[in-house]
Subunit: 368 residues, 2 copies
């Protein structure tokens, strides 16, 4: 059951309230180099990015932000860490949203300036709490009240985000989404669950400083995935120390893995075992290459699941949910099956050719 959150818009992208979970990233070239930023945004959009965040650190970034916001195919969120003035300038420049954190501007006069600018420009606000935005005193209080260090941090993060959301509401701002991130996955999940149970603001999910691609994808998949499986989360960003396009691929895999937005067709393959009589990784690679070839020629495959299995045990039986499947047999034959029904067994290359034809029968012009 998906959490019921209120719907806001970041530019033309709906977030929350039943809208599809959207994918975000952040540019990592200097903001003042508007051409480089726009080039990166194009590549990200082509990969599937739907909302883009750009760092603004100084009011001098404003002219570049203006060009970026005008030319970007995606709504731009101005990321403010150092200077509130630069955030206000970014809203003036056309940013669809501004990202602030409770540590930057508190809940007083500075927040009122942000709220007024956001209302004037019909923009949205992302309240982004992370471990760096919590006052150590808050954590100490919670520990004194009997919480473990992790519980204290999770509660303090959630409370800080909620307090800033409430302060913004009192200032008349309702287009608010929140992001609560820690580099510890368990703390991230606990803090988001706590927040989700206490209000209806849409949530942006992510694990902060997830690390290098190999480890970062795993940490993000656990944290973002655990929350999405619980029905929590309206937009996601996978943080990786890598080309941001990798973040989009990882985000798509997480959404697909959670069954939220399946990559079509999803390829199901078994781990090989002592029963495997064929080169299964090689066969899977052939299937992936075939689908990739179709994609790069602007076509998709109208099938939900394609199974590639090592042996007939796990073939038609375990993969009965697959629309089309292929399984090796001990004597290097290929068994082809469709929705759990075996169509036949063929010598390897003949079987591959037949499977390829069956798959191509489902090729369609792809929809963007």
């Amino acid at each position: 059951m998906r959490r019921t959150s209120r719907q806001i818009f970041v530019g033309n992208v709906p977030v929350g309230g039943g809208a599809p979970v959207s994918i975000q990233s952040m540019t990592n070239v200097p903001t003042r180099d508007a051409d480089a930023v726009l080039g990166q945004i194009s590549r990200l959009a082509a990969a599937g990015c739907q909302i883009i965040r750009v760092a603004v650190d100084a009011v001098e970034d404003a002219p570049a932000m203006k060009r970026i916001c005008e030319a970007s195919p995606l709504p731009v969120v101005a990321d403010v860490q150092f200077s509130l003035a630069s955030g206000l300038a970014a809203l003036e420049a056309g940013a669809a949203a501004i990202r602030i954190n409770p540590g930057l501007c508190g809940n007083g006069d500075e927040l009122k300036q942000v709220a007024d600018a956001v209302l004037r420009h019909h923009a949205a606000i992302r309240v982004g709490a992370n471990s760096g935005s919590i006052k150590p005193a808050r954590i100490a209080e919670k520990i004194a009240a009997g919480r473990s260090g992790e519980e204290a941090l999770a509660e303090a993060l959630s409370d800080a985000a909620l307090a800033q959301c409430e302060a913004l509401e009192r200032l008349g701002v309702h287009s608010i989404k929140a992001a609560i991130k820690a580099s510890d996955v368990g703390i991230t999940v606990a803090a988001n669950r706590r927040f989700a149970a206490r209000c209806d603001h849409p949530l942006h999910l992510g694990v902060t400083e997830a690390g290098t691609p190999a480890m970062g994808i795993v940490k993000s998949a656990i944290g973002i995935g655990a929350l999405l499986l619980d029905g929590i989360g309206d937009t996601i960003r996978v943080s990786l120390t890598a080309d941001p396009v990798e973040e989009i691929y990882a985000a798509r895999k997480i959404l697909s893995g959670c069954g939220i937005r399946r990559e079509r067709p999803e390829i199901i393959s078994c781990p090989t075992c002592g029963r495997t009589g064929i080169d299964l990784p090689g066969l899977v690679a052939r299937v992936e290459a075939l689908i990739e070839e179709l994609r790069s020629s602007g076509r998709g495959v109208e099938l939900d699941r394609v199974a590639v299995m090592g042996c007939p045990v796990n073939g038609p039986g375990e993969a009965r949910g697959a629309d089309l499947g292929i399984a090796g047999s001990r004597n290097r034959e290929l068994v082809i099956f469709e929705k759990g029904k075996v169509l036949g067994a063929y010598p390897f290359e003949q079987g591959w050719k037949h499977f390829r034809e069956l798959l191509l029968e489902h090729a369609v012009p792809s929809q963007k």
Copy 2:
């Protein structure tokens, strides 16, 4: 809070009852080639595998199983899919456990044969339910009772596993662990939660047919990770269509990502952004290479977390939990910090040298 499960032993490895979560894999060379199987087990053990599963499909596999069980550094679980007789022969040959599924031998006479053999050999049983072992009629019943297709499958999987565990208990077997796997992550998580709430048998976690490494790691991280974060799970296997050693690396990353068994030191790094003035992926790679170099010379680093950050914003603040950290600044300097305290800023190469020395001060002979 971790689920309280009963403790069993698979060979000398405790599973459940507060034992550390163990890592498993399965050999994928023909079982009759005992040398090849043993070679693979050695490589898997060196990578961190603690329990190994080997397919037995025919009684003719028994002599090879005998050699494998005698020489294996890891306890061997015999995987039975086709022939119950081969499983009984594997127990005779010295397997520490046998893996059966509710679809193979039901809960009647055949199960009694398994139970008697397990008791005679002081072995354990893994009840492994997957989507292939459920009778379609069971699912139809649940759907008729108002469940969705996914709920029906999750409940049927959990119920089938539990029924077989209960049947085994009635036959006097208590060393039982269960594995409930589907290729759909949400169904896997729901089925395991249901089972976990109804009994105290330890759980082996995994997502079946997770697929190629790229997608399989993501699906496994979500499914296994979501359950581990809930305190459910006593031993894990990541299924990948790849060299099984890759499964061990992935399993280690998942345990580390959940904070259960952190790779030491854990490397925290930020995604780069417009503020990054240095080649952060390059710097992270240097840090990883340094730690890998120590590992391959039999040393470890006595630090829990090392942070490698792109800019001073996310440096000492967000990474205050890091024992040692390094952050780039816009003018290509490196800022070094220890437990949130800045030690100083240095020209890039000088800073790297200083950081390297500080890290090496914590190098210790590693414990296996």
